[in-house]
């Protein structure tokens, strides 16, 4: 067991970490575990929890209903991959595809649905088990608190969850952005300089903030809130916590705002580092 002297302090887990910890490549999972063993306490926010529920739990619930309608599990996977492939859910779909390598599941729709329900309940529970503490909910986002109720017939509970996770703008995001207007202006100013001007993920969010800096209220919509998510997280996290993420978009915002950051290596980097020397030469 590690003593406090050997630990790296407290980490703030950004959305990509729990998502990759659940469904990422086995090398990625192993890498995250190394960091988590070193950390004293794992923190997160209700905003991250909302993003996680939306990108993981809701995706699985949507997929469950598609699988119920489609004839075979493979049909469901094909349909979902064609129509709903985003950067966030492609990792989940890839993981489910590996599950279908087991012919017993691929050929048994009922068993496949049971597996999906296992993933829904498991992933829902996972975040709460992973996180030790939450930072103050400055955005006032209520969606992170939505649960899958026990006691209700399961599918009814899924339906309710899917409805409630949809944003109806009952938050105080506008208040947070107005309070941090100075920091937003700093991001705009510094964001135009090298190397931040080449950070694609950061620039997309920055462009939106630039266009709305006069009337920050317009950012309080579901779509805009999702687009500037990384910046909201960077604004919310206290300076004493190290942000742990896979998303390189955080590099610019954290550097400009003076937040501590650890960007975990990509799968390609991990594979390269493990390749025998003979293969590299």
């Amino acid at each position: 067991m590690k003593t406090n002297n050997q630990l790296d302090g407290d980490y703030f887990l950004e959305t990509s970490v729990p998502r990759q910890m659940l469904f990422g490549h086995s090398l990625i999972k192993e890498e995250i575990r190394k960091y988590l063993r070193r950390c004293a306490q794992k923190w997160s926010s209700f905003y991250v929890l909302m993003e996680y529920k939306r990108s993981v739990v809701k995706t699985l619930i949507d997929f469950y209903f598609v699988a119920k309608e489609e004839k075979t599990p493979s049909d469901a996977l094909h349909y979902f991959q064609e129509g709903f492939k985003t950067r966030q859910n492609k990792i989940i779909l890839s993981a489910i595809a590996t599950l279908l390598e087991d012919s017993e599941i691929a050929n048994d729709k009922i068993k496949f649905l049971v597996k999906l329900e296992t993933l829904i309940f498991g992933s829902f529970q996972y975040f709460h088990d992973l996180i030790d503490k939450y930072i103050e909910n400055r955005t006032g986002c209520p969606l992170g608190k939505i649960s899958i109720e026990d006691g209700t017939p399961r599918e009814e509970a899924y339906r309710k969850f899917s409805e409630e996770i949809d944003c109806v703008r009952r938050c105080s995001l506008d208040g947070l952005l107005k309070d941090r207007k100075g920091q937003l202006k700093l991001l705009i100013r510094e964001g135009e300089k090298d190397p931040h001007d080449k950070n694609k993920g950061f620039q997309e969010a920055l462009l939106l903030i630039k266009s709305a800096i006069g009337t920050l209220d317009v950012l309080k919509t579901k779509t805009n809130c999702m687009k500037i998510g990384d910046i909201i997280i960077a604004l919310e996290v206290p300076k004493r916590l190290q942000i742990l993420t896979f998303d390189r978009g955080f590099e610019s915002s954290c550097q400009i705002l003076g937040k501590r950051l650890i960007v975990l290596p990509s799968l390609a980097t991990l594979k390269k580092s493990r390749a025998p020397a003979s293969q590299l030469s």
Binding site: G24, H25, Y126
Partner: protein
């Protein structure tokens, strides 16, 4: 006075016995008469002997259609009580297997205990249709906890955790959320792993 018909009321005595007895003289003659040949083949006694389920040959429109009774029998949903019994019996037997597995993680002996553990889970899957959802999900979690894992890949602590959650679920002191929490806290991965990386833009 009208004479009353007396019927014998003695139990076990056939009223026609006297008549049958009187026919004994004709028995050799009756035995010589040929029985009509039976249309139906007695296949059931053979299958009972072999412990198999017979196939019914159904004739219609000149074509024979074979219906496999075995398939239909297994397609029937088992009763809830039977399913619970199978669940409980197997869950009671698994901890001792895991105990032996734990002691043999570093040698070939462990493989068979792992295999028998998987077989027990498989037996419960066969009646899963009749089990409550909570138990089916529990079974699914156990299966995922050892999916694609060799016995030698497991740590003694992980096997111990599996043993504990099974015992506690079986005696009713742990619910599904508790099982999931225990596995999460002990880094027992029950989730499938992707073959790609979400951070790779080229994927």
């Amino acid at each position: 006075m009208v004479p009353q018909m007396q019927s014998p009321v003695t139990t076990g005595v056939d009223p026609l016995q006297d008549f049958a007895d009187s026919m004994t003289a004709f028995k050799p003659y009756l035995a010589s008469l040929k029985q009509p040949s039976q249309e139906k083949e007695d296949r059931y006694s053979e299958f009972l002997y072999k412990g198999l389920t017979p196939q019914i040959l159904e004739k219609g429109n000149g074509a024979s259609q074979v219906i496999d009774v075995t398939a239909s029998r297994y397609a029937e949903k088992p009763s809830r009580q039977y399913a619970e019994l199978v669940f409980q019996r197997n869950m009671k037997e698994i901890p001792s297997l895991l105990e032996q597995l734990k002691a043999n993680l570093q040698n070939p002996e462990g493989a068979k205990f792992m295999q028998w553990f998987r077989e027990k889970l498989h037996r419960v899957w066969e009646v899963a249709d009749a089990l409550p959802k909570e138990k089916v999900l529990f079974l699914s979690v156990l299966e995922e906890a050892v999916r694609a894992k060799k016995w030698r890949d497991l740590a003694a602590g992980q096997v111990q955790v599996l043993e504990q959650v099974i015992k506690q679920t079986e005696n009713g002191t742990l619910n599904l959320a508790g099982v999931l929490s225990t596995l999460h806290h002990n880094f027992i991965d029950i989730y499938p792993s992707a073959s790609i990386d979400e951070t790779d833009e080229n994927e």
